[in-house]
């Protein structure tokens, strides 16, 4: 805008008039005022000269031969396209109708003959200002459009990377249905699901403050931490703690993440949940038509670094066919054209009289879409449904590990000794699993090895040291009672210890992994007259059954405080040293 004065002096002005005298008169006034002038002798000529010279302002006589000023004005406006080219009609006509016709034809103003140089100058200056303002606005618009295109391009690239990180999991499993509808290219909501080495499935629904890029910025580290820790077998508690610390570390104060976690143990029909800042999620049991609410009991992630996670993870018993629903506030706050919200009440009503046959997921989706109609959803609408299935029907493809040149040492062992604090606070399994997964041959059996390790270790803690009775778990609400007892026991630990020994021997064609877990407890009488371990139900139930099915042999040793499981793969002939020792 600072250059407006200079440009107004430089303005090229077209004068179209069939009267040579009038043209000359006008030209001399304009030249005197510092403008450049191009001339045309009739309407047709005016259009041609305009097209060639592109003047900034056009002065048109209304009545001219060949083509009158009205038609010329229409054609010039057409040629000018997006440029604002002011057209001022020169006319000796005085009646209102004729003057109005000048403006109707696309003229911006009119100037009556004879010309008054002062008014002429004032009008031209005004139009020069107007066309410069128009040009500035158009330049700014183009700049904004180009910035926006650039931003969208960047977001699309970022989204590709983000989608690869965020959707590396098992969201495509057959028991999961979900909707994520972005309010912007980048969604403030994030949905992750993955499988741990034990076969447990963990899902996370997160809703970052705001929308778009600022909301999605924290999603990348969140997804990284989630998947890498899940893969290594860390517990839900450790994963939540780590993600929370990470987000506290990197996010600005005002950005945080409302999140819901659920870990499904399909083997034992239980689910652990943690809700920090999302609306009540729920478990719907179609069989007995009950709804268990899973309300937020925690501050969202990324606000307070140190949170008490021990008491905030809830354990729920579930059965096959039960369905868990998690959603962000977008679905509840989705507004219709009257400004009404979809609301939790409408959402819960959909569950009434559902029955096992009703497929609720599409019903909920349809109800929301139906409700918002022409209105726009103010937030990101995210919804996930996970159905509890039998463990054998929960199948997800786990990526094969690429081949490696070396299989590492083919015979080694390690001993791991855990004492009071370590048993109470620390989960040794991820570390051990990481060591084992360094052996390429073992990687494909990671899940099975982890299951064996974790069952033997939790038996040593729960039954060996803490002397808990599994039978409690079979009573209604027994799980929570069991875990209360477990917590009390852990707090009272004194000199107890647990020893884990791994002995690996293997080659590319096969091998054995011997896992020995010994606790400082009193053991139990595992021998009957026939020398066989007594019924597992005494000690551990389903868990040991699973271990037996995975291992070549499982044997109790000593006074029953030591157990040795031998995992065999490939064409290796088991050595079974444990059995030799026992017999």
């Amino acid at each position: 805008m600072t250059s407006s004065h200079i440009q107004s002096v430089d303005s090229v002005i077209l004068i179209a008039d069939d009267s040579d005298f009038d043209r000359l008169l006008l030209k001399s006034i304009l030249k005197e005022q510092g403008h450049q002038v191009v001339e045309a002798v009739d309407g047709l000529d005016a259009v041609a000269v305009f097209d060639r010279e592109r003047p900034q302002i056009v002065l048109l006589d209304a009545l001219m031969p060949n083509m009158d000023g009205f038609e010329a004005a229409r054609r010039i406006k057409l040629l000018a396209g997006e440029d604002l080219v002011p057209i001022i009609f020169l006319t000796s006509l005085q009646d209102a109708g004729s003057l109005a016709r000048c403006l109707d034809a696309g003229g911006d103003d009119f100037l009556s003959k004879p010309y008054n140089p002062v008014i002429l100058q004032a009008k031209i200056n005004a139009f020069v200002r107007m066309s410069e303002m128009h040009k500035t606005m158009r330049d700014q618009r183009d700049e904004i459009a180009s910035h926006n295109a650039h931003l969208l391009h960047q977001q699309n690239v970022a989204k590709k990377v983000f989608d690869r990180v965020a959707h590396a999991g098992c969201l495509d499993a057959s028991n999961i249905q979900f909707t994520l509808s972005p309010a912007a290219v980048f969604n403030g909501d994030i949905l992750l699901a993955g499988v741990s080495p034990t076969g447990n499935m963990t899902m996370l629904l997160g809703d970052f403050t705001g929308h778009g890029l600022d909301a999605a910025i924290g999603a990348m580290p969140l997804a990284e931490v989630f998947y890498s820790m899940l893969k290594k077998g860390f517990s839900l508690r450790d994963i939540i703690r780590e993600i929370n610390l990470k987000l506290c570390d990197i996010l600005p104060v005002e950005i945080f993440c409302c999140a819901f976690f659920a870990e499904f143990d399909f083997n034992n029909n239980r689910v652990q949940v943690w809700n920090g800042g999302l609306p009540d999620c729920l478990i719907y049991s179609a069989l007995d038509n009950t709804i268990t609410r899973l309300p937020s009991r925690n501050v969202p992630l990324g606000i307070v670094p140190l949170v008490n996670l021990k008491d905030s993870i809830e354990l729920h018993e579930v059965k096959e066919g039960d369905r868990l629903y998690a959603w962000s506030d977008g679905i509840i706050e989705a507004g219709n054209s009257d400004g009404e919200m979809f609301s939790e009440a409408r959402l819960l009503k959909l569950f009434e009289g559902g029955g096992p046959k009703l497929d609720l997921f599409p019903t909920i989706n349809a109800a929301v879409v139906d409700f918002i109609g022409e209105g726009t959803a103010g937030d990101d609408i995210s919804l996930i449904e996970v159905t509890v299935v039998a463990p054998e029907s929960f199948k997800v493809a786990i990526a094969e590990t690429e081949g490696e040149l070396s299989g590492g040492p083919d015979d080694w062992s390690l001993t791991y000794n855990l004492r009071r604090e370590a048993i109470r606070e620390f989960d040794p399994l991820p570390q051990l699993l990481q060591v084992l997964m360094q052996v390429p041959y073992l990687r494909q059996f990671g899940g099975q090895v982890f299951t064996v390790l974790s069952e033997l270790y939790s038996n040593a803690v729960d039954h060996g040291i803490l002397r808990l009775d599994s039978a409690i778990k079979n009573t209604p609400g027994g799980f929570s009672q069991y875990y209360r007892q477990r917590k009390r026991g852990l707090a009272a630990l004194q000199e107890e210890e647990i020893l884990i020994k791994l002995h690996y021997g293997g080659t590319a064609t096969g091998g054995t992994l011997e896992i020995t877990v010994k606790d400082s407890g009193a053991g139990f009488n595992y021998l009957t007259g026939a020398g066989q371990p007594i019924s597992d139900s005494h000690k551990s139930g389903r868990g040991m059954h699973l271990v037996r099915s995975l291992c070549d042999s499982v044997n109790y040793l000593g006074v029953g405080n030591e157990v040795c499981a031998i995992f065999v793969w490939g064409n290796h002939k088991p050595r079974n040293p444990a059995i030799e020792r026992v017999q």
Binding site: D207, E254, I255, F256, C258, G277, L278, S296
Partner: protein, 101 residues
């Protein structure tokens, strides 16, 4: 939406009153209400009496105020919440971070 702030005569307490929707559009005004003071008050009150709604970025703004006022040692009360506002604060368990009256 409008935000007004008043300081007690001895300058020890700042009250920020929110009117209407408390969302991202109030970002600048809300920050100015406490950042521009020459002397830092000991106590802060956010009066929600006339607030109709808050969104997650409003929660973020409250966290910014908390951070400004000393983080864990901040003394901030949120007053006169209607049911909707109270519910939004409750879902995020903000009673662990602020005094909600």
């Amino acid at each position: 939406m409008s935000i007004t702030s008043t300081t007690s005569t001895d300058g020890s307490e700042l009250t920020i009153a929110i009117e209407g929707r408390f969302d991202f559009s109030s970002h600048q005004t809300f920050r100015q209400a406490y950042e521009d003071l020459t002397e830092k008050p000991d106590m802060y009150s956010v009066d929600m009496n006339a607030a109709s709604y808050l969104d997650s970025s409003a929660l973020g703004m409250l966290l910014l105020l908390r951070d400004f006022a000393g983080g864990d040692s901040a003394n901030i009360s949120i007053l006169n919440c209607n049911d909707d506002v109270r519910k939004i604060l409750a879902i995020s368990n903000f009673e662990q971070l602020f005094t909600i009256k």
